[in-house]
C-alpha cells in the first residue's frame, strides 16, 4: 500500500473553475473529489451511504486515492489520524447516524491531540426523511459539534461547495483542528421515500 510514494503531486493538477469543468466534473461529487485531490487528501476510509455512492465509486476508480470501507466510523477516524501523523492526509466519509457514534473519539483523540480530521457527512434525517430514527439522530449532530466547539459547515449549494470545502480543508490542516462538512439534501438530492 505505497500511499505516500509514487503518486501525482497535487501541484501538477490543474485548478478548474466551475465554468471550465465538464458536466461530470460539475457535480457535487465531482467537485468534492477534485477538492480532496487539490488538497492532497489521499486516504479515504468510509462507511457507505446511498447518497455517497457515486462519490465512493469515483474515488475507488481514481488511483490517486486509497479508498476502502471500514466496519465503523470510529475505526476510520483512527486510520486517518494515524495516516496524518505519518505524513499523509485523509478524510472520512459517513452518514449522519455514523457521526453519532463519534463523540468519544472526537473528544479523546482528534481534538486533544490536535489532529486535522476531515469528515464528510451525508445528511439524513431532514428535508423528507422517512425513517423516524434517522430524523432523531440527525438532531444530535450539530449539538455535539457545537458542544466541542468544532468547525462545521452545512453545504446546500453547488456554487458554494468548492469554496467551503477547499477553505475548510486548508483551515483544518493549518490550525490542526477537525472539521465536519455536512452535505445537505439541498446539495445532493438526499434519499427520499425509498425501499
Amino acid at each position: 500500500m505505497a500511499v505516500a510514494q509514487e503518486k501525482t503531486s497535487p501541484q501538477m493538477l490543474e485548478e478548474k473553475t466551475l465554468q471550465e469543468r465538464t458536466p461530470q466534473e460539475n457535480t457535487w461529487h465531482g467537485i468534492v473529489l477534485d477538492t480532496l485531490k487539490h488538497n492532497d487528501v489521499r486516504i479515504i476510509p468510509y462507511v457507505p451511504d446511498r447518497v455517497l455512492t457515486t462519490l465512493i465509486k469515483s474515488l475507488h476508480a481514481d488511483p490517486f486515492f486509497t479508498t476502502f470501507a471500514t466496519a465503523r466510523e470510529e475505526e476510520a477516524v483512527g486510520i486517518v489520524s494515524g495516516a496524518w501523523m505519518g505524513g499523509v492526509r485523509g478524510a472520512v466519509l459517513m452518514q449522519t447516524s455514523g457521526f453519532a457514534t463519534l463523540a468519544n473519539v472526537l473528544a479523546s483523540l482528534a481534538i486533544p491531540y490536535q489532529i486535522p480530521l476531515i469528515m464528510i457527512v451525508s445528511e439524513r434525517g431532514t428535508l423528507g426523511e422517512f425513517n423516524y430514527g434517522q430524523s432523531l439522530v440527525c438532531r444530535t449532530m450539530r449539538p455535539v459539534l457545537d458542544s466541542l466547539a468544532m468547525e462545521h459547515h452545512t453545504i446546500t449549494r453547488l456554487d458554494e461547495l468548492e469554496f467551503i470545502a477547499d477553505r475548510s480543508i486548508k483551515q483544518a490542516v493549518t490550525t490542526q483542528a477537525p472539521v465536519a462538512l455536512i452535505l445537505s439534501p439541498l446539495l445532493t438530492g438526499g434519499k427520499v421515500f425509498d425501499k
Binding site: 500500500m1 505505497a2 500511499v3 505516500a4 510514494q5 486516504i43 476510509p45 486509497t66 476502502f68 470501507a69 471500514t70 466496519a71 465503523r72 470510529e74 475505526e75 476510520a76 477516524v77 483512527g78 486510520i79 486517518v80 489520524s81 494515524g82 495516516a83 496524518w84 501523523m85 505519518g86 505524513g87 499523509v88 485523509g90 468519544n104 473519539v105 473528544a107 479523546s108 483523540l109 486533544p112 491531540y113 490536535q114 489532529i115
Partner: protein
C-alpha cells in the same frame, strides 16, 4: 481451537514490552493502546517513534494501520489489550483486506479489564482472540507459547511481509509506569520521530 491458548504460558506485559522494545533498531513506530498497554510502553523507555493513546479505546490497531499506510517503508507495531480489541473486532477485517506488509499487532490478553477493577471481559471464558484474527483473514496470527516464542514471533514478523498478529496471555498486574498525559506533546514528538516534522 482454544487449546493452543490454554497451553500458553501466562507472561507479564512489562517484561514482554521490554523484550520487544529491545529489538527495535530501525526507528520502528510503536502504537501503545489505552491504559496499561501504553503505560508499560512508556515504562519500557520512551522512544521518539512511540505513540501513547490516552483515550479512544479500541483504536490502537486502526491508528497503527493509518501510520503503516502512510509510511509503507517503516515497520509499525501496535500493542493492544484484549478488552480494547473487543471494541473494534471489525478492524481486523479492514486490516486483513488492506494487508499492509509492514504491520505487526500484539494482543495483551489477560481476560480482564485490569485498570477498572479487574472485571472479566465477555470473551474471557468463551473466545479465542487469535482464532478470531485468523477467521477475520489474518493468516499470520499465533499465540506465543512463552517469552522465547514471543521473541521468535516478533523477529519473524519484523523480517517477513505482514500483517502479523501475536497473542500473548498475560497476568493481572497493572502497568509499571504512567504515561505523562500531554496529548499534543505526544503527537508532536511522534511526528518528529517519524520524520514528518522538523523541529522549530
Amino acid at each position: 481451537m482454544s487449546t493452543a491458548m490454554r497451553n500458553t504460558k501466562v507472561m507479564n506485559r512489562f517484561d514482554l514490552t521490554s523484550r520487544l522494545v529491545a529489538k527495535l533498531k530501525h526507528e520502528e513506530a510503536v502504537i501503545g493502546g489505552i491504559g496499561n498497554t501504553n503505560f508499560d510502553l512508556w515504562a519500557a523507555g520512551h522512544r521518539p517513534q512511540n505513540f501513547y493513546m490516552l483515550g479512544s479505546m479500541g483504536l490502537g490497531f486502526p491508528i497503527a494501520l493509518g501510520v503503516a499506510l502512510a509510511q509503507p517503508n517503516r515497520r509499525v507495531i501496535a500493542l493492544e489489550g484484549d478488552g480494547s480489541l473487543l471494541m473494534q473486532l471489525g478492524s481486523l477485517t479492514t486490516i486483513a483486506a488492506l494487508a499492509p506488509k509492514n504491520l505487526t499487532m500484539v494482543v495483551m490478553d489477560n481476560g480482564i479489564y485490569q485498570i477498572t477493577g479487574a472485571q472479566p471481559t465477555p470473551a474471557a471464558q468463551v473466545a479465542d482472540i487469535v482464532a478470531i484474527a485468523v477467521a477475520s483473514g489474518l493468516a499470520h496470527s499465533a499465540w506465543a507459547a512463552d517469552e522465547e516464542d514471543f521473541e521468535r514471533l516478533i523477529d519473524r514478523s519484523l523480517a517477513e511481509p505482514g500483517p502479523a498478529l501475536i497473542g500473548v496471555r498475560i497476568d493481572d498486574k497493572p502497568g509499571v509506569g504512567t504515561t505523562r498525559r500531554d496529548p499534543v506533546q505526544i503527537r508532536e514528538r511522534f511526528m518528529l520521530g517519524l520524520n514528518v516534522r522538523q523541529p522549530l
